[in-house]
Every structure is written in C-alpha cells, then in structure tokens.
C-alpha cells in the first residue's frame, strides 16, 4: 500500500525542481527569442544592402536557420510549462475527472516516448557529424556539431521536463490529488484558454515610456 502523504511530499519536492526548470525554460525562451530578433535584423540588413548596394552578407539565411533550431528546441519546454502543446480535447472535456486524469498521465508517458525517440535519433545525427567532421556545404562551412549540439541539448532539456511533469502527475494520480494533477498536466479548459488569450492581448494599453537601457 502506497502512502498518499509520502507521495504528496515526493510531489512537493519535485515541485521545487519544476520551479527551477520553469525558470531555466523562461530564460531559454528569452535568449531564443533574442536570437530570432537578431537574425531578423541581420536578414533585414542583408536584404537592404543586397538591393541598394549590391553586396550580400554570406550566410544570413543559414544563420537564421540555426537560430530557428536553437530557439524552437529550447522553446518546447517553455510551451510545455504553458500547457501550449495543443490536444484535441472534444471528448476529454466530457469525461469524468478520474478518466481524464489517467489520460493526462498517458499523454505525458507517450510524449516522453516520442520525444525520447527523437532525442535518440538526433544523437545519431550529431555523433555522425562529429565522426565525419561534417561542415555545411555553404560559404560559412559551419562545423555541423555546433548548431546540432545546441539543438540536441534543447530537445534533451525538453525530455527531462516532460519526465519531471510525468513523475509528478503519476504521484498525484496515485495519491488521488486530481485537482493538482489537472493544474499541472491537464488540457487547458475554455476558461484557461480565454484567460491566456487575454493575457496575450494587453487590455487598455498603458502608455509605456520608451525605456533606455543603462546596462
């Protein structure tokens, strides 16, 4: 017989880990987004100089591709913590919470399986690049292991975050704490969706004074 109190305290300890992981995911999202902004600026510069001054920076598009790979693979975990990975919940919302909770756990188990497999195959891509000393077939001749390891690291972090939420939700399911389970792993309800959309659109735009950075 498993002790519900012990499971809850196990969950609380993991909650502390999740707070840290969410912090990392958020910082990664900021950095990844900054990559995208910078690559947008580089590409803009490239288009303008190409058109007006007839010279082109080699590899602006290639770099933006790497920015995409890095920002998205590191962004997957952020989307996970926002519960933004959409699920078709037409049937789910009509199920009793007990069954829906089992589906939440199943979702995370299978998510871990699919992303685990993706990590496994991504590792082969990276190890092959290292073994062959592969470089991109472009003027930049980027050593492929650099963008690929950033990409793989992001996917690995995503996998670890899935496993973390999965462990917590299994503990909560066994302990019978279905409300908390739904809070961390459930598909967002209509109410949640509405709130997140509103958060997205800043109501009554307050006049923000343009800040200047001093650091």
């Amino acid at each position: 017989m498993v002790d519900a109190a012990a499971l809850r305290s196990f969950d609380r300890r993991l909650e502390g880990v999740q707070v840290v992981a969410e912090g990392v995911a958020r910082v990664a999202a900021y950095i990844g987004g900054a990559f995208l902004v910078v690559s947008a600026l580089i590409v803009t510069f490239d288009v303008v100089t190409r058109k007006l001054f007839l010279f082109s920076i080699a590899g602006a598009d290639e770099l933006s591709g790497y920015a995409l790979a890095a920002s998205m693979s590191w962004g997957y975990a952020y989307a996970l913590f926002c519960r933004a990975h959409i699920r078709v919940d037409a049937l789910y919302v009509r199920l009793p919470i007990r069954i829906a909770s089992v589906l939440d756990v199943l979702s995370l188990l299978l998510f871990a399986g699919v992303i685990g497999l993706a990590n496994w195959h991504a590792w082969f891509v990276l190890s092959e690049s290292i073994r062959m000393d592969a470089v991109s077939g472009t003027p930049l001749t980027t050593p492929m292991w650099i963008p690929q390891s950033v990409w793989l690291a992001g996917m690995l972090f995503f996998l670890l975050c899935i496993l973390l939420v999965m462990l917590r939700s299994i503990a909560l399911l066994v302990a019978g704490d279905l409300d908390n389970l739904r809070r961390i792993a459930g598909a967002p309800s209509v109410q949640d969706e509405i709130e997140s959309e509103i958060q997205h659109a800043p109501a009554s735009p307050s006049p923000v004074v343009a800040e200047r950075s001093n650091h």
Binding site: S64, S71, Y78, A84, I86, L91, L103, V114, V208, S213
Partner: protein, 428 residues
C-alpha cells in the same frame, strides 16, 4: 491499411494526446506495421533538416511581427480612422470593426491576435452607443477571421510547407477572397441593420475634414503591408526575408509610437516562443510523418479509394468541405489541417483542382472552424474580452456571418478565378 490507420488515428485523438504525439505514434505505427524497411533510421536526419529549415523561420518571425504590432499602440488610432470612413453606413461601428480587422490582418498572420486587438479597442463602444450586443460581438469574431486570409498568413505558410505549394502564390491568392469576404461581412451587417433599425447604434459624428485628418493613422499598417508583401512580389525577398523586414518595421513603428521598451520586447518574445514552439514541433514531426506516408504509399491508397467511389469532382469536393465543417466544430484548426491536408491535397489535385486554390479553400474552412461551436477559438477570445454574460451570445451573434462564409465557399467553387486570377497574372 487505410481502415486500420483511420481507426488508430481516431483512437489517438479520442485519448486527447498532444497533436505532436498523435503524429509521432502514427508514423511509428505505419513504419512498424507496413514496411519491411526501418524508416525510423531516417528520423534524425528528417528532424534536423526541417528544424533548421530557412523557410520555416518565417513562422516565428510572422508571429513575432504580430505580437509587436498588437503592442505597438496603433490599433486605437486605426479604429478611430475607420470609424470616420465607414461608420456612416447603417450598422455604424460594426463596419469599422470589419474594416479595422481587415487592415490589421494585413500586418498580422493570426486570427486570435487580430480579434483580440480589435476587440479590446471596439468592445467598450457597444454599451455606450446602444448596439445590438450579439451582432456587435459577432462582427468582432467574424472580423478576426480575416487575419488568416489576408496575407501574410501563418496558416498559408503551414499549408504551403505541408503540401509543397508556393507560399508567395498562396499569399497573392488570398488577397481577393479576403477583400470579398470583408465586403460580404459588411453586407451582412448592412442588411441586418436595414431590416432591424433597433440593432443599429447611435450615429457617429463624421465629416470629410476628420476623414482626411485621420487618414494618416491608416498609413502605418498599409506601409507595413507594402514592405512585407510588396518585397515578395518585387522579387526582392523570400517569404522568410519578408517576415524579417516585417519584424524590423513593426519594431520601428513601435519605437515611433514610443512603445518599444524592454518589457514590450520581452512579452512579445515569450508570446512568440510559446506559440511558435508548439507549431514548429508539430510541423517537424508532421514532416517526418509525411515522409513515412509517402514511403508506405498511404496517399496513393486514399487516392484510389476516393477515385473508386466514382463521384464527380464537385461531389467529392462538397463531401470534403462537409467533413471539414464537421471537424472544425470539435477540433483546433491547426490539428485539423496537419492531420488531413498532406493526404487530401494530392487527391484533390488528381481530381483536377489547383493546390493554390485548395489552400485558400482550406483557409476559409479554417475560418469557419474558429467560429463554429462548441470549439470556436475566436468566440472564446471575444467572450474573454467581454468578460460578462454567456458565451452563447457570441455563438448566436456569429450566425448571420456564417451565411457570408457559406456564400464565400460557394463563390470559390463556382468561380475558382477569385483565388487564381492574381497568382496566374503574376506567375503563370
């Protein structure tokens, strides 16, 4: 193979798994059961190739552009100008709702961003000016749909990538249907308010002097539209480069409005990563599934099945439209498109339809899907901004606008040139 795959797909959907997981498991199932070759060995290569694909960079960049635009503070002024130009019609401000949405759509690739931005600006007016609340809510939700039909459109990039269709051609093809649908929405409002005078609100004070004075407020979105869409057709930029120009222009515009700050950039970035990470994960796994689908020959099997029914192309198309309308009621549009389009598009093309035309039709059906209950994302958004009464008011309010969407689908079937004239003129 077709029957078994459909059953597996339905089970996976019923389990409410994340879409990325549904796609991944489906690919594994087909690989393990139907091929002697281990297709899985190519998985890493396929995932990496698409994860750093330059064409896909356009998706987060267009999302970032939209996030910046909705924080740039131009929506209020645009709305004020649209009121001057359109609110003298019977239906008053509701025409401004549609007009502002159409114009904002030209700088944003997403429906929810469009509806949320214009909704926040317009909604307070419904109580002050005595409009029929339901119709007013409906006009906001319906106007939001224009976001994905008038280029740039994230949905078109998504469709183009999944089906190997030209994104610039899709963008061009969306222009005329987008303008026609705006006009149809306004016709709905006009007719309703002529028939029922009490649904209209208090008249607005408009004058030619104010019209010309506010004209400058319509300029920023038009300029951004010209930069983004114009650069593609002038042959200066790929869609990805156009998206980068769009991000730069949106930042410049926000700076001009003194709204470009670290908090604005931070919020825009988080919103962008949240949405685009979800879309990109689905996209790269969907592309792996596409690879598997092609290898096991499922697309051909679906093709033979549908051709074997012996229906005329029009009957088949009507059947497909019916399926999409039903799916759209219960499914998120992204899920709907990613699960069906890679298989259905080749069938439709073999029946003699144009893939660009079908892409526009899919976008119009996606617009229908984001409005229809019980799962109607745009109605949720408008209800969320309103934050009182029942969600059903919004669902009732969009009913008349459904007629406009139905008419638009009918027109597309009867006159495919609505979508194809511009791309043919420019490219073929």
């Amino acid at each position: 193979m077709l029957a078994a795959t459909t059953v597996v797909l339905l089970i996976l959907i019923a389990l409410a798994l994340p879409i990325a997981v549904v796609l991944g498991i489906l690919a594994l199932f087909l690989d393990v059961v139907y091929t002697p070759m281990p297709l899985q060995n190519a998985m890493g290569e396929v995932l990496w190739t698409h994860s750093n694909n330059v064409i896909l960079v356009a998706i987060p960049l267009f999302i970032l552009m939209g996030e910046l635009m909705l924080r740039s503070g131009i929506a209020d002024k645009m709305y004020g100008a649209m009121v001057q130009w359109l609110a003298w019609l019977p239906g008053g401000l509701m025409h401004a709702n549609i007009g502002t949405c159409a114009l904002f759509a030209a700088t944003s690739g997403s429906s929810t961003a469009t509806a949320a931005t214009i909704g926040v600006t317009a909604l307070p007016q419904v109580y002050k000016r005595g409009y029929n609340e339901r119709l007013f809510l409906g006009s906001l939700a319906a106007g939001g749909t224009l976001g994905i039909l008038i280029p740039p459109s994230i949905n078109m990039i998504f469709y183009g990538f999944l089906t190997d269709t030209s994104v610039p051609q899709l963008f061009l093809a969306g222009v005329i249907p987008g303008l026609m649908l705006s006009a149809l929405y306004m016709l709905v409002i006009f007719t309703c308010c002529v028939l029922r005078r009490d649904w209209d609100g208090d008249p607005e004070h408009t004058s030619w002097e104010l019209r010309f004075r506010t004209l400058i407020d319509l300029l920023p979105p038009i300029l951004i539209f010209i930069v983004v869409v114009g650069s593609i057709y002038a042959g200066w930029a790929t869609p990805t480069e156009a998206a980068a120009l769009g991000v730069f222009s949106a930042m410049a515009l926000a700076a001009a409005n003194r709204r470009l700050s670290w908090p604005t950039m931070g919020d825009s970035i988080l919103g962008t990563i949240r949405t685009s990470a979800m879309i990109i994960l689905i996209t790269v796994i969907a592309l792996y599934l596409n690879f598997v689908l092609a290898a096991v020959g499922l697309v051909q099997e679906v093709n033979q099945f549908i051709l074997g029914l012996g229906w005329t192309p029009l009957q088949t198309m009507l059947f497909i439209i019916g399926i999409y309308i039903v799916m759209g009621m219960v499914m998120d549009t992204l899920a709907m498109v990613v699960l069906t389009v890679p298989v259905i598009t080749p069938v439709v093309v073999s029946l003699g339809y144009d893939p660009v035309w079908f892409g526009i039709l899919i976008v119009i059906l996606s617009e229908t899907a984001v409005l229809t209950p019980p799962v109607g994302m745009l109605c949720y958004v408008i209800q969320g901004i309103r934050n009182r009464g029942s969600l059903n008011d919004v669902f009732i309010g969009i009913a008349p606008f459904m007629l406009a969407l139905a008419a638009m689908i009918g027109l597309m079937l009867a006159f495919p040139q609505i979508a194809l004239w511009l791309p043919t003129y420019f490219y073929r």
